[in-house]
């Protein structure tokens, strides 16, 4: 069937149909991203800076965002150049420009992956006094130390349940367990399913037999059936399996509800009994940034973070930078009283700026904090990803859970900012993938149509290109609002 107005314009609209189609689609996209930008504004103005949860400033890797912006802009130009080549009826050159577009899309997605990786491997550890250390969680005996390490001896669980957390949390191979009847159990999940089915059937059978017996007796005695004489069909589902040898549990924050020295209880109610591994609830963190924005100014020097980051040089460097920034604020506002509270409390310092400041100071040079930006200079998260092999001497701290209010990676659940950041950049990334697939299809499989009807092919590329420009347009706003300001 011939679809009308693929190439020629309709007389009433003056446009070929696909163009109307894509603009209607882009209209819906404007509403989609508009809604998210609106949500962004709402979330951002809802934050009370310096009091509860300050909007993170400069936590992004700006060079990555910057390069990605240039890459997307370049790809937008390449798309229109490819379209011009089709209009000139030059298939080969069209393919070349389109290949450049796809290369740009892949570069963008690659850099985005690096950025996301950095975030998922960068943790924030909030102490009970609200001071915050950020950096890389270290492994202890091959297990990430933000997990509880526990030596299990037995598991207690409900055999009617599925996907048992106590089994998921086992680190390494499952041990062999011993059932209450003495049988060996190598796969507790299927053993439990079988046992549950058998127990339920046995209970049903016992009930049926008792019911038949009761019916018979009731008939003989000429009375109603007495239900109290029938056995219950309830099955005792909670069982405990002893392990033949101790096994290791590594339980993340979202796996267990609580733990003691002897037991760890998981969210599904299953339990492991044994003993907490030595320092099994201690988090080992390589500290890259120190954030004091939630600690009152006059309590910052006595903050509990300094009992862990014991390096006096780091502490001195932190407060030297803070004082420099304070002086900068006083110079700007005229006197200390006039400095707004939110400006005073803005203290998030990257350890390598502290080191850099030391080096400047030793050489008698003016520290980089003098301009007032460095005192709340953030970490590029990518730096976090490669932090372990960095040349900076980052302090490594070991913190017991009793001193930790919260620990988590910089994923969507870390705070409001990261939630909206991942939502918007993630959705944008999906658009990049979609656009690249369509344009890549035109590049690889469009020649037949080009030979048959080159104007039809040019129209297709124009429509695909319009979508691609829209994706670029969204990024033009995302870059400043998410990365820069």
């Amino acid at each position: 069937m011939q679809i009308p107005y693929e190439v020629t314009a309709r007389r009433d609209t003056g446009l070929y149909n696909a163009k109307i189609g894509i603009w209607l689609f882009l209209a819906s996209e404007v509403m989609l991203f508009g809604g998210l930008f609106s949500a962004y504004v709402f979330l951002r103005i809802g934050i009370t800076p310096g009091v509860d949860n300050p909007w993170p400033s400069e936590v992004q890797n700006i060079p990555i965002g910057f390069v990605n912006t240039l890459v997307l802009i370049a790809s937008s130009v390449f798309v229109v150049l490819a379209w011009v080549q089709l209009k000139m009826r030059n298939w080969f050159r069209f393919q070349l420009w389109m290949a450049a577009v796809i290369l740009c899309a892949l570069t963008f997605l690659g850099l985005k992956s690096v950025e996301y990786y950095g975030k998922f491997h960068h943790h924030g550890l909030k102490f009970t006094d609200n001071s915050l250390a950020e950096g890389i969680v270290q492994e202890v005996d091959g297990i990430m130390s933000d997990k509880i390490r526990f030596e299990g001896k037995s598991i207690t669980f409900d055999i009617s349940a599925k996907n048992l957390y106590c089994l998921k949390a086992v680190h390494g191979d499952l041990p062999v367990f011993k059932a209450p009847d003495g049988a060996e159990v190598t796969d507790p999940a299927s053993w439990a399913a079988k046992k549950y089915a058998a127990d339920v059937n046995a209970a049903k059978k016992a009930y049926k037999e008792a019911l038949a017996e009761e019916k018979k007796l009731a008939k003989e005695e000429g009375r109603e059936i007495d239900e109290s004489k029938l056995p219950s069909m309830d099955v005792d589902t909670v069982v405990t399996l002893e392990a033949a040898e101790p096994f290791l549990i590594a339980s993340g924050e979202r796996m267990h509800t609580n733990y003691t020295d002897k037991t760890i209880t998981f969210r599904d109610g299953s339990k492991v009994t044994g003993s907490l591994a030595p320092n099994g609830d201690t988090v080992v963190l390589e500290v890259h940034e120190i954030d004091m924005q939630r600690v009152p100014l006059d309590e910052q020097k006595e903050s509990m973070i300094w009992s862990y980051v014991a390096d006096e040089g780091v502490k001195k460097g932190f407060f030297d930078l803070q004082n420099k920034y304070k002086q900068h604020l006083i110079d700007y506002y005229g006197s200390e009283e006039k400095v707004p509270l939110k400006q005073k409390q803005n203290h998030r310092i990257n350890i390598h700026h502290v080191h850099a400041h030391h080096e400047h100071a030793e050489h008698g040079a003016e520290g980089e904090a003098a301009h007032g930006e460095a005192a709340h200079h953030g970490d590029p998260e990518g730096d976090g990803a490669g932090g372990a092999e960095s040349s900076y001497d980052y302090p490594v701290i070991e913190v017991p859970r009793s001193d930790i209010k919260f620990i988590g990676n910089h994923g969507p659940r870390y705070n409001t900012y990261y939630a909206i950041y991942f939502t918007m950049t993630g959705l944008h990334g999906l658009h990049v993938i979609g656009g690249a697939l369509v344009l890549g299809y035109f590049m690889l499989f469009g020649k037949k149509l080009f030979l048959r009807n080159p104007e039809h092919m040019a129209n297709r590329v124009e429509v695909g290109g319009l979508f691609w420009h829209f994706v670029d347009l969204v990024w033009i706003f995302l870059f400043p609002v998410m990365y820069l300001f």
Binding site: T13, G14, L15, K19, I20, W23, L24, A27, V30, M31, G34, G35, S38, V41, F42, G46, I47, D52, N53, S57, I62, T69, L70, I73, A74, S76, V77, V79, V80, L81, V84, K87, M88, R89, K126, H328, L329, Y332, P340, Q343, H371, G372, E373, H376, K405, N415, E455, G465, L466, H469, F470, D472, L473, I476, F477, F479, P480, V481, L484, F485
Partner: protein, 112 residues
């Protein structure tokens, strides 16, 4: 629009290159305002003035992409009607959040 003449093509490419350059310059200026201390406008750190300049540049860049790359500078009336309608709705949507100020969620951001 059917086949381009070489002259038409040169005209198009020239416009695209000019926009390309403008977008690159715009990006550099935005980053400079955000990162270079002596370009820190208004109060120290990020201020209303910084946001405004950043957004203004973004709006100019987006307009260039829409007008030149997306050919909105010489489109048919139907497209303008669709987009005008959309922009009105999008603009109103940006302000729907104002209602939330009348009924705020208490302590929504203090979970950790």
């Amino acid at each position: 629009m059917s086949e381009f003449t070489p002259a038409e093509s040169r005209k198009h490419v020239k416009a695209y290159m000019a926009v390309f350059l403008a977008l690159i310059v715009g990006t550099f200026v935005t980053v400079a305002v955000a990162m270079i201390p002596w370009l820190d406008l208004g109060e120290p750190g990020k201020s209303f003035l910084d946001y405004s300049v950043g957004l203004l540049i973004a709006i100019v860049k987006a307009s260039l992409v829409a007008l030149i790359f997306m050919h909105l500078n010489h489109e048919k009336g139907m497209i303008y009607k669709i987009m005008l309608f959309t922009m009105c709705f999008a603009f109103v949507m940006m302000f729907l959040i104002v209602f939330s100020w009348w009924n705020p969620i208490q302590e929504a951001f203090t979970s950790h």
